[in-house]
């Protein structure tokens, strides 16, 4: 059975790249465009892993991560937070929100895939 990855990302191009990458790598990918949709998709789809962008409309990635991790039925799902290189202090905030790993933008698709495989071998 294919592993399911939820991508919470508001940029169409980034979603397309991830879709091509992850589908090619044999994953099932579901998408959400903001933090609120991300939480709803997590509840509805029960993904095996979440890729969470930080700068999101409606509800940002920190808050979405915090809420998912606060829910005992969801907190086992690993979350990789995508932080921006431009804003210092993002990593600390991401860790504080309870993420399992983080990757700094701009990332190489190869490196991201390697990070995902740490959680879903």
């Amino acid at each position: 059975m294919k592993r399911r990855i939820l991508v919470v990302e508001d940029q169409e191009d980034n979603r397309r790249i991830l879709r091509d990458l992850l589908t090619h790598a044999g994953f099932d990918m579901v998408e959400a465009e903001n933090g609120e949709e991300g939480i709803a998709a997590t509840v509805a789809q029960r993904p095996d892993l979440i890729l969470m962008d930080i700068q999101l409309p409606v509800l940002d990635g920190y808050e979405a991560t915090r809420r998912i991790k606060a829910d005992p039925t969801l907190k086992a799902i690993p979350i990789i937070v995508v932080t921006s290189f431009a804003l210092s202090g993002d990593e600390n905030k991401a860790r504080a929100a309870g993420c399992d790993a983080y990757i700094t933008k701009p990332y190489s698709p190869r490196a991201l895939l390697a990070k995902i495989r740490e959680f879903l071998p």
Partner: protein
């Protein structure tokens, strides 16, 4: 009125008034003493003398009386021509003369109120003498005469005693009056002294206040000016004393201070504006770089997927173009990142976040990241590390950025040979060296390369790629850690880039 006097005069007023009051008391005391003296003299030279003289008179009269009695007794037994009688007669007559002078004394010292007593004494003295003389001259004899003399004597004696007792009484009255007067005087003296003390205290207080009041006001005004209250007006400018002079000086000070305050405000405003402009500028740069990076990341992402054959196998010629797109895209990304870093440094907004790190791990991670580049160019990349390095404390990410930059440059500018990363620790400092066998940096360029947009040889740069900002950023990062960065190089023989930094940055900063 007093308020307008100069301070130098005010300070004299209190002592002057106190001295005047003391002089008044002395004058009153003098008058009282004089009166006391008069009373004393009145008693000693008057009543008391009268009393003493009267007593003497009494004794003298008693003496004559006893001699007269003796004479009357001897007269019956002796002939009238007897020598004893003659002597006795003479003695009695002379004693009467003495009594006369005594009586004159009494009369002169006695008071007017005693004049009736004195005239009684005078009358009876005359009668007594007349009877005595009759007896002495033999005109009167017998017991009848003697008893008459005795009666007169007794009368005279009683008058003299009365005068003496009245004189004594009058002396006593004067004495008790004097005593009362002294009592009253000392009461006045005490009350006067108390009043002087009270007046002195009040006066000193009042004058002190008259001096300190305007000064206190002035201090308040000066404090208010010092606190930046420029609307305050200086009181007492119209005065002609020291306070007036001071007020004029303070007014000048206030005017200057107002001007300074105004200038300070405009400076603060200008600085706030400059700060907000700088804030806007760096916010703009941050937004801009994010906006620039988003599409660039997409380009790089698609390119990588293409070269990984995710969209199908690509031909050799196409792969070459895709690689070129990727290289140029990465260069552009590097430029954007460097410009952002530099603008943050310029705006003073690059803050280091300190944490513990392992220099060994840092060197190894840089080695892992760069090694593929080195082997691609056929270069040897080596690490020389001592067995034990202390754990460092600093901004690991920024220090890694510096090391990546130096090692990346070394690979970039070296065509054959090796690049060696060496690290050591001594005396609380790390020393890191990156040595290459590249074409070196000319002596004249060795400081220039750490400046912005400066590379030793522009043609080399264009060929090698690079922003020209890396070393400048590295230099700022190392300096923010309290360290130093420099290069030692000879053309065509290679370069060694060095940097040193405190093992524990925060400790170093705290102790210096």
């Amino acid at each position: 009125m007093l308020n307008q006097l100069p301070i130098r005069i005010k300070v004299f007023i209190a002592p002057a008034i106190i001295i005047a009051l003391m002089l008044c008391v002395m004058l009153v005391s003098e008058l009282a003493l004089r009166r006391q003296q008069a009373a004393f003299l009145q008693v000693v030279g008057g009543s008391l003398t009268t009393s003493v003289e009267t007593t003497k008179l009494l004794l003298a009269v008693a003496d004559i009386q006893s001699e007269m009695l003796r004479y009357t007794q001897l007269q019956q037994r002796l002939p009238s021509g007897d020598q004893i009688l003659i002597d006795l007669r003479r003695s009695i007559v002379s004693k009467y003369q003495a009594i006369d002078s005594l009586f004159e004394q009494v009369k002169s010292t006695s008071m007017k109120s005693e004049s009736d007593a004195v005239s009684n004494i005078s009358d009876f003295l005359t009668i007594h003498r007349a009877v005595s003389l009759k007896i002495l001259e033999g005109e009167a004899t017998g017991s009848m005469t003697v008893s008459t003399l005795l009666a007169h004597y007794q009368q005279l004696q009683s008058y003299i005693v009365e005068l003496a007792s009245r004189s004594l009484e009058s002396a006593q009255v004067t004495e008790s009056e004097t005593e009362k007067y002294i009592d009253r005087f000392s009461y006045v003296l005490y009350a006067g002294s108390a009043a002087i003390i009270a007046i002195s205290i009040l006066l000193t207080f009042y004058i002190g206040r008259a001096i300190s009041g305007p000064l206190t006001n002035m201090i308040k005004v000066m404090n208010s000016i010092a606190n930046g209250n420029s609307a305050v007006s200086v009181p007492g400018m119209e005065r002609r004393d020291e306070i007036g002079a001071m007020a004029k000086a303070v007014d000048v000070f206030a005017t200057v201070s107002k001007e300074l305050h105004k200038r300070e405000l405009s400076l603060i405003e200008a600085r706030a504006m400059a700060e907000s402009a700088s804030q806007h500028k760096s916010q703009f740069l941050a937004n801009m770089s994010h906006e620039l990076r988003t599409p660039l990341n997409a380009i790089l992402g698609y390119t990588e997927l293409m070269s990984d054959n995710i969209y199908g196998d690509i031909s050799g010629k196409m792969r070459e173009v895709v690689d070129r797109i990727q290289r140029n895209g990465k260069h552009l990304l590097g430029l954007i990142n460097d410009v952002l870093d530099l603008s943050k440094i310029e705006a003073g907004q690059l803050t280091l976040s300190f944490a513990d790190y392992s220099l060994k791990e840092m060197v190894q991670s840089v080695f892992t990241a760069i090694e593929p580049l080195a082997s691609e160019k056929g270069l040897t990349l080596k690490i020389e590390l001592p067995a034990d390095l202390p754990r460092g404390h600093g901004d690991e990410r920024r220090l890694t950025q510096v090391l990546l930059n130096l090692v990346g440059n070394a690979i970039k500018f070296t065509d054959k040979g090796e690049v060696v990363i060496r690290a050591s620790a001594a005396e609380g400092s790390f020393a890191i060296a990156v040595r290459d066998t590249g074409h070196g940096v000319a002596e004249g360029d060795q400081t220039k390369i750490f400046e912005q947009f400066q590379q030793a040889d522009n043609t080399a740069t264009r060929k090698k790629g690079g922003t020209g900002l890396g070393l400048s950023i590295s230099k700022r990062i190392i300096e923010m850690h309290g360290g130093r960065i420099w290069v030692e190089s000879r053309l065509r023989q290679g370069s060694t880039f060095y940097f040193t930094l405190p093992v524990n940055v925060e400790q170093q900063v705290a102790s210096s």
